[in-house]
Subunit: 399 residues, 2 copies
């Protein structure tokens, strides 16, 4: 059931995989003129080494990387240097770095970067966050295989959702039972979101009109939540006949996350025709966009095509929310849930081979709830591969 | 079961409570010479308003606060101003702020603060993170009442742990069942940790020797975890006779968290005398420190007293870990799990009335596992109040 994480080598990745990832990052360092980087973000350290540790990866364009470790004790390997505080790095790297150093401006705190700047006063700090996001947006075959495994477990968990339903159940009760079976299948629970302003516990289960409650977060759908300290998602709504429950739960089974949404409804009462039409429209958008999602396609063209389809069906009032509209219909996934590329009206991203993309064209239908699906796809040269393969139609719960 | 979070007023706090919190913050602004602040951290916005929203609180020392909101739509109240981007704030605040503005240097990203600095180019940015942490370290009666409620539910959940155990169970399986009953009792799941480098899913369940596995995070205890992307906590160890399982699970039921640890063991085999002695020593430390924990006591004196007791019992080799030692035995709790004050050897914090403190003197005994307890206490003028009241002795599971 569990992997061996007691391995003492700092770099857990196979040598070839490690070199492939370093190679991707270094090619971008070269093209953007960044001669060295100091990486501290957990997601980026996990990408570069295969493990999370407290400390930094110092990566020069030329020369060997250095792994500065604060914790845990007992790690070993080439380039491992234990430090007590960031200032200790200057002894190894040298105080008189005159070239620029890349730092993670977008995830490290102002205080943390200020301290690093003071350690290397003669160097020029530059923002390396975008470069690392770009590097991570194209997955290696090893990463794609990890995403496949998450997708398979994710799909297995969703196949068991109908067996969890009981008539009269509240949204939060269904969510807790899904959380339980996910965790027992190995879901790590942690929902890595880049940046620190978006908070969500393991995903979103939205029943009926709660799907229309605006949330403060930049997720595709909202929900009022059960507490003003975490105002998103399930709010205690009973899953009632004639309404839907949309399940968008965490698929992080091995450090790599797939993203999948499916819609369920009590079987005792039919759903409004408008809701059925909108759900079919979401599936149609998936098919159309999958056909377009090839290396070189501009992401904004995908958004435009989705919007065209929605307007053809006269469903734009409900698209991506009703009281509050989300500004995107898809996003890269991997170590974090909000990776590149972004499928949005003004996105400048271009689809590349190796992108792993969650598409989520969704609708909120008043008095019914949310409909539409989300799948995670791998972009190959001539095809897209489905990582989330649960049936796409609305599943009716037996009552 | 659920509170109404559809309330449209931005400030959900009662007027008196709102003024009390503003008053605390403003007194510290005055004493530290910070004439205005721009607050964006979710925990701080929740403290100041009673809700989380996307945007900023602009708080001048004199004059009314302004609430700049990006999302959700439809919030109302005095001082609410909707913005699309941070630059829009300059229209309301004025571009020519010449006094200094406090920003959250320790939680906001470098890029975010840099952007705010560029919006107010004539002002001097200063670090307001410490001031807000200090303000939040002394809880109001309303906050203490919320912590009491969390503590009662937290204690109720722990009382049900013995009923969840089955012989042969793994640590992670027990953790998942505890997660489930916690969530069904209203636990929000979210584990707010200040800073972005510490990650943990709902808490820590440590069985046997896994308690001794070093983790990268600055928690009191480690555990190898089940994946190198999240190397902390349960790792699939079977809860075996003669070993302990330490449960340190999330007590966030209303935006305010209590912290509690208890120890369990299969009842079919006695534990090693050394483990029993260390557990008793932990309880003794709690009693001694509770007697000392009065307004004015230096936190480092608490640490020193704990260390003395440990040395008197000749248990220092096992105190706060064995292969890797934690550097603190207690910490403030509230909206976040790592608040002030910190009970550590070189802490300069002084105990104040209204502090809410989790004490966690723990031991790792080789071949047995972790022992010791954690409780959350409110510091009153002449007493401490227990918020976590589950029985403190090791609980033996029936087999």
């Amino acid at each position: 059931m569990m992997k061996n994480v007691l391995e003492n080598r700092l770099v857990i990745l196979d040598h070839d995989e490690f070199m492939a990832r370093l190679g991707r990052v270094r090619a971008l360092m070269e093209s953007t003129g960044i001669p060295s980087m100091l990486v501290s973000d957990n997601a980026n350290k996990y990408y570069l080494t295969g493990r999370v540790f407290a400390g930094y990866v110092y990566l020069p364009l030329k020369g060997e990387p250095i792994f500065f470790v604060k914790r845990p004790v007992e790690l070993e390997g080439d380039g491992v240097v234990y430090i007590r505080k960031p200032e200790d790095m200057a002894v190894t790297i040298g105080l008189n770095v005159t070239e620029s150093i890349g730092f993670e401006f977008e995830t490290a705190s102002y205080a943390a970067i200020k301290r690093l700047r003071d350690i290397f006063p003669t160097s020029t700090p530059v923002n390396a966050s975008g470069l690392l996001r770009t590097a991570r947006s194209v997955k290696t075959p090893v990463e794609i295989e990890m995403l496949r495994r998450s997708g398979m477990k994710h799909t297995l968990v969703y196949s068991r959702i109908p067996g969890l339903f009981r008539p009269g159940m509240r949204d939060i009760e269904l969510q807790v039972e899904i959380e339980r079976i996910s965790r027992l299948e190995g879901c790590l629970g942690q929902f890595r979101i880049s940046g620190d302003t978006m908070e969500l516990h393991m995903g979103n289960v939205l029943a009926g009109d709660n799907a229309d409650a605006p949330s403060p977060y930049d997720f595709a759908m909202g929900g009022a939540g059960s507490d003003p300290s975490l105002p998103v998602g399930a709010n205690g709504t009973i899953i009632a006949p004639g309404t839907t429950v949309m399940v968008d739960m965490n698929g992080n089974f091995d450090g790599y996350m797939t993203d999948m949404t499916r819609v369920y409804a009590p079987g005792s009462e039919p759903l409004a025709p408008l809701a059925l039409k909108a759900h079919a429209c979401s599936i149609e958008i998936h098919r159309e966009l999958c056909a377009m999602m090839r290396p070189g396609t501009p992401c904004k063209a995908l958004w435009q095509r989705a919007e065209e389809i929605v307007r053809d069906h006269d469903l734009h009032a409900y698209f991506m929310g009703h009281r509050q509209h989300a500004g995107f219909i898809g996003h890269g996934v991997g170590i974090e849930i909000n990776e590149l590329p972004v499928i949005a009206p003004r996105s400048r991203d271009i689809i590349a081979e190796g992108n792993v993309i969650a598409l989520e064209p969704k609708f909120v239908i008043p008095h019914t709830g949310a409909v539409g699906i989300e799948n995670t796809y791998v972009v190959h040269a001539d095809s897209v591969e489905y990582l989330t393969t649960a049936p796409e139609e609305i599943v009716y719960f037996e009552e």
